[in-house]
Symmetry: C2
Subunit: 216 residues, 2 copies
């Protein structure tokens, strides 16, 4: 192998506008993408080089959409879902049943429920769950506005607690139950049992235990 004496003195690539990833415009995108969760530097690089070959329209559209995301998305002041209008499309939809509120932790939980097409009521997004370990108490969540929605003159007849089936979700559901019970409004929780398509043999013991307890 030939030696490159001049090169041995230092790193050739480390000039002001050139890094491992290549020229500045490229390393900027690599860096931006690799800050996203689950995207490492290798994937970020692969995506960037893909974008380099993609059409100007595709890349421009993505850039515009990102700008738009920050400029045009707000929280619905009623249900605290993410929306481009306030109140949101679900809260203002006359075909949604205003007497049933489904309480979820995150906007993505709402999306998952909408996808089932099995729920026709409205939502309330807490934006988290009670987690003393992470320093998140009831006041960090949108619990107070939920209680306000259930005050005097409310149309709400049922609150479905659809928090996650884990420690934090259960604690949150319990906390809300204590606040809502005195108001005389029906409270339900999502059923727990075996997931469809699952194999009994591979179900964890808690899921299987819940499935026994909830048999009908």
């Amino acid at each position: 192998m030939p030696g490159w004496p001049l090169w041995r003195g230092g790193r050739l690539w480390e000039t002001e506008s050139m890094t491992w990833e290549g020229p500045k415009p490229i390393s900027r995108v690599v860096e931006g993408l690799s800050r996203l969760p689950g995207i490492g530097p290798k994937t970020a690089q692969r995506l960037t080089y893909y974008l380099l070959r993609a059409s100007r329209e595709q890349v421009g559209e993505l850039a515009d959409a990102l700008r738009d995301l920050k400029d045009n998305v707000k929280l619905c002041s009623t249900c605290f879902n993410i929306s481009d209008q306030d109140p949101c499309h679900i809260c203002t939809n006359p075909r949604r049943d205003q007497s049933t509120i489904c309480v979820v932790e995150e906007p993505l939980d709402l999306v998952a429920i909408e996808r089932t097409a099995r729920f026709g009521g409205v939502y309330h997004v807490l934006h988290g769950a009670i987690s003393p370990m992470d320093g998140i108490g009831p006041d960090e969540l949108r619990i107070r506005p939920l209680i306000s929605r259930l005050g005097p003159g409310t149309k709400v007849q049922e609150v479905i607690l659809a928090t996650n089936p884990n420690l934090e979700g259960d604690a949150t559901a319990m906390y809300i139950t204590k606040l809502v019970e005195p108001l005389g409004i029906k409270i339900t929780r999502l059923a727990r049992g075996l997931p469809i398509g699952g194999d009994l043999e591979y179900a964890d013991e808690i899921t299987l235990g819940n499935a026994f307890a909830g048999r009908s």
Copy 2:
């Protein structure tokens, strides 16, 4: 489970500005991201909701970087590497050895070689490999400009063929060899053998066979 009679008539979520993914600004980003290779709709959604919570600066920086990528990246007219200037940083770097050209298929191959910090010469990027199956012949690649770089009065003394160690890469290397040999310039190829950190037991038979043939 209560029935939502009004809702049973149609899909509640399918209004003009609301899709499965949520309001329009969100679904635009989800759509844009899910068009990237290796990013499915679920990942795109997760990334989008992450971006919603990210700082305005972070999202703005990514959007700007994407714009910049298309506006400020060009091909070096000498080596055809991707760069923000022409000729590129490597071709104009006085510390690079202009007498050795390393021929690679893609810009990312160049990045991989730069990362080894073991090569101090210059490059030539073919932008692909000969692949009759995909309708890519020598004329679709930057082979002609490579030959021009080796013409009368050239300083080049060695051409390292660093095409991929597969059928297409080998065909491309063979084709270039035939063109360069008559010019009396030294041609070398990257060594083939066992990858470092690999286990002999798990090496495929072709790699192992190459390692035997190339023993020294």
